[in-house]
């Protein structure tokens, strides 16, 4: 059926509403996009953390308040929390079968990811502007 060359069904119609989350392929695509973004950003993140090793409070603040490290950190945090939200969501979709527990887990996952992301962004912005 799916491989029938005479079929008039589009490829998208075969995947829409399917999968463990019944939500099609949007998250799978976003997972790829965020993972591509995270390739250079993870290297930047490790570089920034290494530059903080051995620094005292004021030196660490000065380093984190510089524009390039701050912007790279913000990009890393944004793509990172989006990436991990989708990742944990697929773990929940795969392993949590009870409908109520599944919904609660998905909500908790969203709240945790947004809260951690916002906390990090708040701190980086405060380091840059205050």
């Amino acid at each position: 059926m799916a491989n029938d060359p005479a079929s008039t069904r589009t490829a998208a119609s075969r995947v829409r509403f399917l999968g463990a989350a019944k939500s099609g392929t949007a998250d799978a695509w976003r997972m790829r996009i965020t993972s591509i973004a995270l390739l250079p950003l993870t290297i930047a993140f490790v570089w920034i953390v290494l530059s903080l090793v051995g620094k005292d409070y004021s030196a660490a603040r000065a380093e984190l308040g510089r524009p390039v490290p701050a912007i790279l950190l913000l990009l890393f945090i944004l793509s990172g929390v989006y990436h991990m939200k989708i990742g944990m969501q697929s773990i929940i979709d795969d392993y949590v079968h009870s409908p109520h527990l599944k919904d609660l887990s998905l909500i908790a996952n969203l709240f945790f990811s947004v809260a951690v992301g916002l906390a990090c962004i708040y701190a980086v912005l405060k380091l840059s502007f205050v």
Partner: protein
């Protein structure tokens, strides 16, 4: 929509199930798939550490001293070491998945080679970062 009831002996309960994980002989690619998920989940929790550090740095010297004390302690160093390894393992595992997404690396020698490179590369990068960190300290 009506609820489907699963009764013993009903058609649904007699449907064959696909065999689960434990029935297969463990392979390296299978273990690496599991490790990718576990390191991803560990990094998820590890973001709390990053948030703690950034908030402390943006608050005041005493909050920074607390987080610095933890990260310099033996437990803190072990946690950070595990975080570093999880990050690099997941990073290289992600590259492996992107290679697969572009349609390459599924054949027998390539997929084994990719799995080994991910495993070894994660260890090497972790060691390299910690050596650099100790040299700077």
């Amino acid at each position: 929509m009506a609820e489907v009831e699963l009764r013993p002996g009903s058609l649904e309960s007699r449907r064959p199930l696909s065999p689960h994980l434990q029935i297969y002989r463990p392979t390296l690619t299978m273990m690496m798939s599991i490790a990718h998920r576990i390191t991803g989940a560990a990094l998820y929790v590890g973001t709390l550490l990053l948030a703690w550090f950034l908030i402390a740095a943006s608050t005041d010297a005493s909050a920074f001293a607390t987080v610095a004390y933890f990260m310099n302690s033996l437990v803190g160093k072990l946690v950070l070491f595990a975080f570093t390894w999880a990050l690099f393992h997941h990073f290289l595992g992600g590259i492996r998945h992107l290679i697969w997404d572009s349609g390459y690396g599924f054949a027998y020698p390539q997929r084994e080679w990719l799995a080994q490179a991910t495993l070894i590369g994660g260890g090497v990068l972790t060691a390299a970062v910690w050596i650099v960190a100790f040299l700077f300290h």
